[in-house]
Subunit: 386 residues, 2 copies
Amino acid sequence: MSITSFHPPRRTLMGPGPSDVYSRVTEALSRPTIGHLDPMFVGMMDEVKQLLQYAFRTQNALTLPVSAPGSAGMETCFANLVEPGEKVIVCINGVFGIRMKENVERCGGETVIVQGEWGRAVDPAAVEETLKAHPDAVILAFVHAETSTGARSDAEKLCALARQHNCLTIVDAVTSLGGSELEVDAWGIDAIYSGTQKCLSCVPGLSPVSFNQRAVDKIQNRKTKVQSWFLDLNLVMGYWGKGAKRAYHHTAPVNALYALHEALVILQEEGIENSWKRHQLHHNALVAGLEAMGMSMVVPADERLAQLNLVTVPEGVDEAAVRAELLEAYNLEIGAGLGDFAGKVWRIGLMGCAATKTNALFCLGALEAVLGKSGGCKAAMEIYQK
Amino acid sequence: MSITSFHPPRRTLMGPGPSDVYSRVTEALSRPTIGHLDPMFVGMMDEVKQLLQYAFRTQNALTLPVSAPGSAGMETCFANLVEPGEKVIVCINGVFGIRMKENVERCGGETVIVQGEWGRAVDPAAVEETLKAHPDAVILAFVHAETSTGARSDAEKLCALARQHNCLTIVDAVTSLGGSELEVDAWGIDAIYSGTQKCLSCVPGLSPVSFNQRAVDKIQNRKTKVQSWFLDLNLVMGYWGKGAKRAYHHTAPVNALYALHEALVILQEEGIENSWKRHQLHHNALVAGLEAMGMSMVVPADERLAQLNLVTVPEGVDEAAVRAELLEAYNLEIGAGLGDFAGKVWRIGLMGCAATKTNALFCLGALEAVLGKSGGCKAAMEIYQK
């Protein structure tokens, strides 16, 4: 055996994530490792918390990055908030709702499903009906930005309904954080998790989470221990807690946290509302281009995510061959469909630093060439010139 | 709020981990992110598996890095192998044995404890007695290299005893992998987990694990679902499995895996036996230096880890003040005591690329200056000149 260093190709990442990473972020990633209890590192952790509060638009003290990918952030929410036997209403309109259901069941909870349509927002009326029919439910869980379908649900309305019916909310914001309007405090979200590899344009591997006091109270008053030692927030808080004193829990992924810090500094420099607007602009251009090429969007206009665009694969086209050609000849990655949408759609991401005019036009130009169509770039430019 | 980029100081890391990282590894870490299902990435994953098989000295097909720190690797072993109601014998001779017990209980298992002495190896006679007294036990769990005490246990002997009594073994090798002799196949270890931030000199955040066929059989024949979705190996195998076809499970920490790949390439270049010998040489020099300064080692010579040296804090010395001075004036990190040893010992790591003559002499020189002692460097040089 003789394996040598790995040198990845330089791709343009326009799939459902990971997205392209800021060069400032990869540079930060490679800074010298220091100890996870070093006073300098602890100071940086405090800044990461503040920057995450900015990104989540929250004052929640319990706001931190879980030391593992978004799926572990999801599990952190469910494992800490659900106790065996509790009833949880889960809205399913894509892959990640299904994963939520799986999480509840593995925590010993009972699920009530609000089944929605793939490619559509969660229906608030159906949620309200279910809340009324199950007054013993304690949690409502839904996905704000469904990465498998490109649909955005009305988190504000769903959280208001949950509160009226005395349910806590668990919200998946893996794909929305930094790319779509998201107001943890103003909307009354109780527990939320996200990822670093989408609209923050940081490397994958961490999951920012935030919990308000109602959620913390539930966690601190559990009758049973959290089934995961690694994800038990009662323990994690001892390391990420307030003040200089930190109790060792696990070895933090030091360099990944440098990267997240830098990505959040960049977000703060741009201003989060500007980031939302930027995603919307390039989305508008991309959609105009795709539609000018005769392609149709999967999600209705007012339920679409700007950062993740689902387009129907044109009849007679071998979708996998197109993706392979884009990857090999253009070094451009777009995403395949997932779950019910496998083989039927492409997922085109415009996330974080990949949400640019260059990327939108490059992707449209490449699709024109590979599909033998035209008019996409021109239509997009008209949006930019407005 | 205006937070700016974080620039860590350049430390020499001689604590219990994270250890100093190879510059080749941080350089690899900062290479361009590509998709976690990109064919080029999948090819690299296969190499990581092969390289981990080399490091673990195993042919186990189920050998991969868990996408989270060592504590999550521990939990992966227990959550997958322990079913509710099963009896697990846990050897406790430090902090990480206690954590194993906690893991078993959170999985609904019943623990039988073999209580050992802090700073000593696990006693095989006590383990044998316990195995005989509990013929219904299904797993024996112990720590090969106790990071809290610096003691190395006889994993070969303990695994042989477990097999005689029809128990599977779960072995913590977080601190031993790459630094101490470790033979997964030859010793018959059934399940093992490690970390990247110790003797591999990679950044923290991943946990290499390996499971043999006996362990895989138990996992595949569980009566209950693994309680963690994120750590369920039945699902993780779909992503890390054989062949080109990979099912999406979670977004892999792409850049961290570049780093691990590079660290393992470096290990392969050096040769793992050479790495073990190198750790031993610098350990011998460090110990000679510490003893020449009148300090005493905590662990008996034949049970010591080369890579993690526990030394008793001299009477009348403020141990925290010494560590603070080393950090501030020398940019040198050594570790504090943990658990029963808090305030009583220092933990001096010589791990991975930090196991060098320069580091051993630098640390001894700094301790001489701060403690007002002498003779340490000279005694260490005598070992090197032998």
